[in-house]
């Protein structure tokens, strides 16, 4: 199975006018045409999953993820009920929803799935799915916007989503259902008189769209708070979707952006934007906000035992009980090489040690730095029950962790000289492990010894012990 990826992102408006009355105003008609264009682009991308982050689905108890495989109802907008009813029947990928929920948990984030008959899917999600996926050909998943979430939580939400996309090999499209400026006219207007509520809102919208058209998504993410203050009605949901979407795109500024439409919706700014992950050739800018991998929580008002702060400075609890023993900060002895980008050790040892011209690495597994998550899944759950897992994903992750440690030392994967590999199930896994080896370290050319062993300290299937050339001091 190839590794999953995000194949595109879209920003779409939340109001029902383009769906229900596109003929009511020329701008609404242009938005409808651009929705149709976006739907075709999604189809052409070969996407097999649509992920909707909707600002019109606020939540309080963490983020909520729709997990009803076939939600059906008729929704009516709270404000624009006279425009008509919207019957819907959607194709939801419940398995992905549950996997995302679990990935959130592994990254320390509260979330939950919802699968209740009659659950009121919000207007933004309904409009997006009706218009972007009209024949339900692509399974979808919807996530709420947590009213209390800050950027750290929202970023971790996106990273957990990417964990699942990668581990399940999906080709996903991310969609944010949102307004730009969201100030509507507060009195009734004739549809033909619709325009952006104020010149100031219009100017901000155009600046945002200029950035997005240049693929500068992360810049918009970093301006999110300012944008919220300037052109957003001070509702609790804020301008968070740009945080999520930027996280989904690796917090980059060199995407290939295209603004398909920008129109007024009862005064609010409605835009349809396509962000292609293909680098635009423009220079990527620095990501100067905290790059959070794992959410440690900040409140824990209900359960004292969920307090992640620790009096022991060199030891933190594991991210989840499935992942094995407690983690340690790497020891910092003479000639030690330690990397923030590598997973924490499970004992008192460094990531690597330099001796003369050689680097000796401690055994490296596939656990992810910060989260302790295991790409491809753990080999057993917290009860010890065997789990299905992907040896190729685990092997890829091991090689990536080795690369990070070597790069910390100033070297690269090309410096590897000798590897001892440990597999817990030689019969099952040797073939997949060997395939990934050939694609990666096999091209570097180190000597190798592969051993079958009974167990490893964490629920992983593969670990490698590496000796590498040390770069000159």
């Amino acid at each position: 199975m190839s590794q999953g990826e995000l194949v595109g992102s879209f920003i779409v408006p939340v109001h029902p006018h383009p769906l229900l009355v596109p003929e009511g105003n020329e701008g609404w008609g242009r938005l409808r045409a651009s929705f149709d264009d976006a739907a075709q682009r999604i189809k052409d991308s070969g996407a097999d999953l649509l992920i909707i982050y909707s600002t019109t689905w606020p939540s309080i108890i963490g983020h909520q993820i729709m997990a009803d495989p076939n939600p059906e109802w008729t929704m009516v907008d709270h404000d624009f009920h006279e425009l008509g009813s919207i019957p819907y029947s959607f194709n939801i990928d419940a398995d992905f929803a549950h996997a995302w929920d679990k990935a959130n948990e592994q990254r320390g984030l509260k979330s939950r799935t919802v699968a209740y008959h009659g659950f009121p899917i919000d207007v933004g999600s309904v409009v997006a799915l009706k218009l972007l996926n009209p024949d339900n050909a692509i399974p979808a998943v919807i996530v709420s916007s947590n009213v209390y979430a800050n950027r750290a939580e929202t970023t971790v939400l996106s990273k957990a989503c990417l964990d699942v996309i990668k581990s399940t090999g999906r080709k996903a499209v991310a969609v944010t259902a949102m307004s730009l400026s969201n100030r509507m006219f507060t009195t009734h207007i004739d549809p033909k008189d619709d325009r952006i509520h104020s010149l100031k809102d219009d100017e901000w919208n155009r600046k945002i769209l200029e950035f997005l058209g240049e693929g500068r998504l992360e810049d918009v993410g970093q301006l999110s708070r300012t944008i919220h203050q300037q052109i957003r009605v001070q509702k609790v949901v804020a301008f968070k979707p740009m945080w999520w979407l930027s996280g989904m795109n690796g917090n980059r500024n060199n995407l290939t952006g295209e603004v398909l439409a920008y129109e007024a919706l009862n005064g609010a700014g409605g835009a349809i934007v396509h962000l292609d992950p293909t680098p635009s050739g423009a220079g990527d800018k620095e990501y100067d906000e905290d790059d959070i991998e794992f959410f440690h929580g900040e409140r824990n008002v209900l359960d004292g035992d969920e307090d992640f702060t620790s009096d022991e400075p060199d030891k933190i609890p594991v991210a989840n009980n499935d992942s094995g023993p407690a983690l340690w900060d790497p020891t910092d002895g003479k000639d030690s090489v330690n990397s923030e980008a590598a997973p924490k050790p499970v004992g008192a040892y460094p990531h690597a040690r330099r001796v003369g011209d050689l680097l000796y690495l401690s055994g490296v597994g596939p656990r992810q730095p910060g989260t302790n998550a295991i790409p491809g899944g753990p080999i057993r759950d917290s009860t010890g029950a065997p789990q299905d897992y992907d040896i190729k994903a685990q092997t890829h992750a091991v090689v990536e962790n080795i690369t990070r440690i070597l790069e910390e030392a100033g070297g690269s994967i090309d410096d590897v000289l000798d590897v001892t590999s440990f597999l817990v199930d030689m019969d099952r896994d040797f073939s997949g492990y060997n395939e990934v080896w050939a694609e990666t370290l096999g091209k570097v050319g180190p000597t190798r010894t592969t051993l079958a062993i009974r167990a490893l300290p964490t629920p992983i299937a593969v670990e490698m012990k590496v000796i590498a050339k040390a770069p000159p001091l």
Partner: protein
Amino acid sequence: MAKGEIVAGCLAPHPPHLVYAENPEQNEPTAEGGWEQLRWGYERLRESLAGVDYDAIVLLSPHWQTYVGTHFLGLPHFKNLSVDPVFPNLFRYHYDLNIDVELATQLHDRAADAGLTVKMMENPDFRVDYGTITTGHLFNPAWDKPLVVISSNRSTDYYSVEVMQEMMKELGRVTRETILASGKKVVVLASNSLSHRHFTTESAIPEDMSKEHITSHAMHLWDMRMIEYFRTGQSQRILNEMPEFTEQAIAESDGGGLSWLLSTLDMPTYPGILHGYGTIIGTGNAIVEWPERNHKEAVP
């Protein structure tokens, strides 16, 4: 036609946890109880009004949020399933309610004449918000009185608490005039909590009362300050301090219900009766009644 009458006004909060804990047959989830202080408070409120005859309930819910003016339910009957989008594990309620369309239309028309932006909601597929259902159930579980349901115009979000209050004071004045002119006896309900900072996690057993408390001392102080004003008939001070209260306690008064209620009651200077106070997932909730009999005593 006899002159209409507001027989009572009530602050009647709507957290769905209270319906969940009551285990009514209309609600799908079941509970082992919980939040008894508030549920007993609603019992006391119902008992207080048990001998009072009235024709209709006029209710303003902050969970029917409208941004283009104030809306009114405008069809005689609504029947559907209400699922709380935030607490769907607790509230999936099959409702069946009647609307006093005549009174709703009168209120709509008078409000329009007064210059307020208003609209009747006449789409039969519309789902009534869970705030209306929750308060409606807890105040009158028999559902044997027709309702007038008013949306929450989010003018606090668009402008400020001060602008919201000006609009709600005007809507309250219009509501009072409409009721008095209608010849009907009416109870008016503002469906909102006081301090409104939630916990962001839910205990494994939602009704585990060992986990329930106010989110912070500051929220408690604000709630008690407001309750003291309720109990001492200081309506004007409530309105005066509403901007600070709404901002600092993240209060659900931002939806306009409390300001509208006090205006509809013509700014009572007599004590409100506190039937109960309690927290629900950290938010502060008071059940308060301003009975008309006290109003009559207060105004010779």
